[in-house]
Symmetry: C2
Subunit: 326 residues, 2 copies
């Protein structure tokens, strides 16, 4: 299976590493909007090329994995390239998924290709688990907690505050809330009761820490509705302890069965990830395998994780899966 | 969707209750090997019938849910009835799944029906999670822990010991072992290190508790390889505190990503169930919906949870799922 990558940031590099862990795949090209000569990749056998060259690669790539952002890249790129390639993206603006789906579906059908959108862990594996748990326990409550992990958006927001040289924000699920859910107490939880926000900030020389802290914790949309803690640390400590991009979270469903609805059940799915892009890219690569299989079967159009038979993600045959994993 | 049940034990009663929680389904008939007049069900609109009458119901049932045991019932029943009905079973003798699959596949194809076998939580949801996690993290280790919950087989074994009036066995996962896995320590765990076994026993009048305890803890295959605790309790306490059939467990995969394989990730799926049959039957019912959809699409033959697109389990449309759950 010949894989192409569009965009060589954290996610693109993660896909490159993940492809190496899958012997049935080969990275053949990385497409970039930068000057290709300025981009050094780790796979000697693969080419680095300008995005303008993509059209010439239509028949040399089985699946293109799009590694751009959801704000401006993917809404344009996935519909554009789904005409030429089987595509995987990690579009994660939940509210815009229906529109993105329609756009990609139209293109993929036009080109006779398969595109799977919104692949990753949320949306992605978390969505799958929400869906399975809801189908199995139709009467119940859903809970999703994120973290402990780095929120890129909130870290960006911190860095825009005057006096901040560098900053990172961790979203932290409230242990007490998780325990209440696991105990089948079906709590009603406010935003503040579910997560806290912990910020690590390096100040500019001469900045006023009281003012910076105030500007962060009162920031609307990002921090005002949460209990937020701000830690001021040295640049050295920041680099040493806060250079990673860990993340994770929990999807829980608490539901009842029985004639009297007195049997309580808890379904829990949780992830603890050293590297958000490292894990997300591994999900993308598994779904690339599925997209290519669906394409070879003659399917076309846009799909999501809900549409993909689980076995299509695995390099193992159906017989082997039944024998070893069922 | 018209549902039939074959076998009205704990699981059959669970399916009856689960059907009521799904407005797109209706229980139309319960088939039994007992005298139908001796079987009282909770659904007034459904009939109780002798198994011999099943053939006459071929066109009046959309999916038959088989609620017999894996030892002797299902190996015969599922191949037999997959010729006449779309079928769901919970066949759980892992080692015999390939043979059972072949037998059911042949029948279902002959009859132009869909049968989904080995549905439940293990095999079933646990298998699914093992498979997804392996496809996403190809380099890593799998761990499955069961419990805390009642093992029917081990409880039966206790009750066969001389001097035992009644007994129940709980399989208990070792917390220390689970924590080591969650900490990505990738431990090598012996049978004894993963689970302990806790027994609650009501003695016959005049029985020798020392002898009974000895006979239980040294029993080969069942208890000898485990740290087993035996509690002797009164019949009253037994009925009060040990009449339920709770169960659950954990599926964990610990894996690595990254060029240097230094990013560690933990995927965890866990269930905490008040009633094993209550939950299992809810899984069966969700897969009944999927079987009927696959049948209506023209598919035939034997399937497992690995083959079923997740969306087929849900009563919601694809649009609705994308909008609300992705």
């Amino acid at each position: 299976m010949r894989i192409g990558i569009l965009g060589y940031g954290n996610l693109g590099r993660g896909v490159e590493a993940a492809v190496r862990q899958n012997p049935d795949m080969e990275l053949v090209a990385v497409f970039t909007r930068r000057n290709p000569e300025s981009v050094k990749i780790k796979t000697e056998s693969a080419k680095v090329l300008c995005v303008d060259a993509m059209e010439n690669w239509k028949d040399k790539i089985d699946v293109l994995i799009l590694c751009g952002g959801s704000a401006t890249d993917l809404p344009v790129q996935t519909p554009k390239y789904a005409k030429m390639f089987n595509c995987i993206d990690s579009f994660d603006t939940h509210a815009n998924i229906p529109v993105h789906f329609e756009n990609v579906d139209k293109s993929a059908k036009e080109g006779g290709k398969v595109a799977i959108i919104s692949v990753g862990w949320d949306p992605g594996l978390f969505s799958l688990n929400r869906m399975y748990a809801n189908a199995i326990l139709p009467e119940g409550n859903d809970y999703t907690f994120w973290g402990r992990g780095v929120s890129q958006g909130h870290s960006d927001a911190i860095r825009r505050v005057k006096g901040v040289k560098d900053g990172k924000q961790y979203t932290v699920p409230v242990e007490k809330a998780i325990q209440a859910v696991k105990n089948a107490e079906n709590p009603m939880l406010s935003t503040r009761e579910k997560h806290t926000r912990e910020c690590f900030v390096v100040l500019e020389d001469g900045a006023d820490s009281i003012q910076v802290e105030h500007d962060i914790v009162t920031m609307p949309n990002y921090f005002a509705d949460y209990d937020t803690t701000v830690h001021f640390i040295s640049e050295e400590e920041f680099k040493k302890n806060h250079s990673g991009i860990p993340h994770g979270g929990f999807v829980l469903r608490s539901g009842v069965t029985g004639l009297n609805k007195d049997e309580k059940h808890i379904i829990e799915y949780s992830l603890k990830l050293d590297s958000n892009p490292g894990f997300t890219s591994s999900v993308l690569v598994a779904y690339a395998r599925a997209a290519f299989r669906m394409y070879k079967e003659g399917q076309t159009g846009c799909k999501t994780v809900f549409d993909v038979p689980p076995a299509y993600l695995s390099p193992k045959s159906a017989e082997e899966l039944r024998k070893t994993m069922l």
